[in-house]
């Protein structure tokens, strides 16, 4: 027997009754034709990709009883990340990652580009929101004991996501290239340099050499807008796959009502 996929929860009132023989005049309205065209287009894609099975598996899986608002924090983090990605693309259209022009291009974004300060503000404050959300989400999974069997791996992936998110904030802070970001970053890179074993290499890698130089900025930019977001997106995919695969936990205080037979089944 092949595994049964969950079906969409359509209330009975909304399901259209099958046509009886002799009912209707046999002619199709424009709407029917439209619906049919849509259905056959979707079928065409599904025949070649089999996407619908995965979608049904992801969207119509059951979420345990008692799931509350705390369970929205993970997807809220993801949403904040998406907002960062979109505003980041618009900033990248105007930003120039060179020591001589970075400041000037940021000034242009802030003072002249249409809605520039608004988009830059969204990106800047969005980072704060994302960091808060990721910490609260982590606290939720911690206090609910959601990192325990069988979800250990999802916790580990989560910690990597946390480190990557902090890396985003750190590398992004330098980019406006004003006094504050410059000096804070120098100190930050120096602090990294005191790390065990890899510390000095990490600092050299970040600076693109032993000195804070002209290529440092473009290196931070590449890390900030390609390397780390790519890794975050990939790991988010893995994280979500595991959530769907294993199911979200029920709140720990909710009891499963077992039948009498099972309840006496103690060793």
């Amino acid at each position: 027997m092949s595994p049964r996929l969950p079906a969409p929860p359509i209330p009975d009132q909304l399901k259209s009754a099958p046509q009886r023989a002799g009912e209707g005049d046999g002619k199709k309205s424009a709407l029917d034709h439209g619906v049919e065209a849509g259905v056959s287009a979707v079928d065409w894609i599904d025949e070649r990709t089999s996407l619908s099975g995965g979608l049904r598996w992801m969207m119509f899986r059951k979420v345990p009883k008692g799931t509350n608002w705390f369970y929205t924090l993970g997807s809220a983090t993801m949403f904040a990340f998406l907002s960062q990605a979109v505003t980041g693309v618009f900033l990248a259209m105007y930003y120039t990652p060179s020591a001589t022009q970075a400041y000037e291009s940021t000034r242009y974004i802030t003072n002249e580009a249409f809605l520039g300060e608004f988009v830059r503000g969204m990106h800047k404050w969005g980072s704060t929101v994302m960091v808060i959300l990721i910490f609260v989400h982590m606290a939720r999974t911690f206090f609910f004991g959601a990192y325990k069997y069988p979800r250990e791996l999802n916790w580990v992936i989560g910690v990597v996501l946390l480190v990557l998110t902090m890396t985003m904030s750190f590398t992004g802070y330098l980019l406006p290239f004003d006094q504050r970001s410059y000096w804070a970053t120098i100190v930050g890179v120096n602090i990294n340099g005191t790390g065990p074993i890899v510390g000095p290499y990490l600092s050299d890698f970040l600076r693109a050499g032993p000195e804070f130089g002209a290529t440092t900025l473009s290196r931070f930019y590449a890390i900030h807008m390609l390397l780390v977001p790519g890794a975050i997106a990939a790991l988010m995919g893995a994280h979500l796959y595991l959530v769907a695969r294993l199911g979200t936990t029920a709140p720990p205080w909710i009891k499963a009502e077992t039948s009498d037979e099972l309840a006496t089944d103690e060793v």
């Binding site: 979420v63 799931t67 802030t110 969204m122 206090f143 004991g145 069988p150 004003d178 006094q179 100190v187």
Partner: protein, 233 residues
């Protein structure tokens, strides 16, 4: 968790899951409502606080106290709390690295099958204490302010050097008399008695982490700074 506990968990979970509701539309609806809250929060913050841009980065004038983004305050504060210089590596790498490793391995050493927060007193207390510590360190970092004044009694011909020191962010990590922070760097009120002038100059050019190098200061400012430090006895 042993095998029996694992099986018991999976069995109870499948009962709860089967009694649940489909992800779409119930959970998706909540998630979407939350996404709207997040979006509105970001937009409101952007509109109220905007995006400031300070003066352009300039390696030769350091008129800024190095200050990280606020959510790194607790790491920077950790440096400050663990003051003695030989312990700095412990604060910078030791503690954060150990905390990170502990965080990574959490599911592997906490093998208690219990999940209710009140029935896991150690884990719950540790979690609350960690949050309190981070909150406290962040608060310390936020209230540290950015001092830019040195009130030590200075002979008139060294005033210029005192000004350079005050404007160069030294106070973020060093104490001069009553001013500045008492960590992560050592107190400099009597540095001249401890270090000869050349050694001070060498430290400024080639310092130990996390202190930044000040070799790009214009030469006359650099000399004023060194002269000022050398006479602090």
């Amino acid at each position: 968790m042993n095998r029996r506990e694992k099986e018991e968990y999976l069995r109870k979970y499948s009962i709860l899951k089967n009694k649940g509701k489909p992800f779409f539309p119930y959970a998706v609806g909540k998630d979407a409502a939350m996404a709207c809250v997040v979006m509105i929060a970001i937009i409101l913050m952007s509109l109220t606080f905007g995006a400031e841009l300070g003066p352009k980065a300039d390696p030769t004038t350091t008129t800024y106290v190095p200050r990280p983004e606020w959510y790194f305050f607790f790491l920077f504060e950790l440096l400050r709390v663990i003051k003695p210089a030989n312990f700095t590596p412990l604060a910078t790498i030791g503690i954060p690295t150990i905390c990170l490793i502990l965080l990574f391995l959490l599911p592997f050493y906490d093998r208690n099958p219990e999940r209710r927060p009140l029935r896991r007193p150690i884990a719950t207390t540790a979690g609350i204490l960690t949050i309190a510590a981070i909150a406290y360190l962040t608060y310390l970092g936020a209230s540290a302010g950015s001092p830019t004044q040195i009130e030590l009694k200075t002979p008139a011909r060294y005033e210029a050097g005192a000004l350079v020191a005050a404007q160069s962010g030294c106070l973020a990590c060093h104490k001069f008399g009553e001013n500045g922070n008492s960590g992560p760097g050592p107190n400099l009120s009597h540095i001249g008695a401890r270090l000869p002038k050349q050694a001070i100059a060498r430290t400024l050019i080639n310092p130990t982490s996390p202190m930044p190098s000040y070799k790009d200061l214009p030469p006359e400012k650099f000399n004023e700074l060194v002269n000022f430090l050398a006479q602090l006895k």
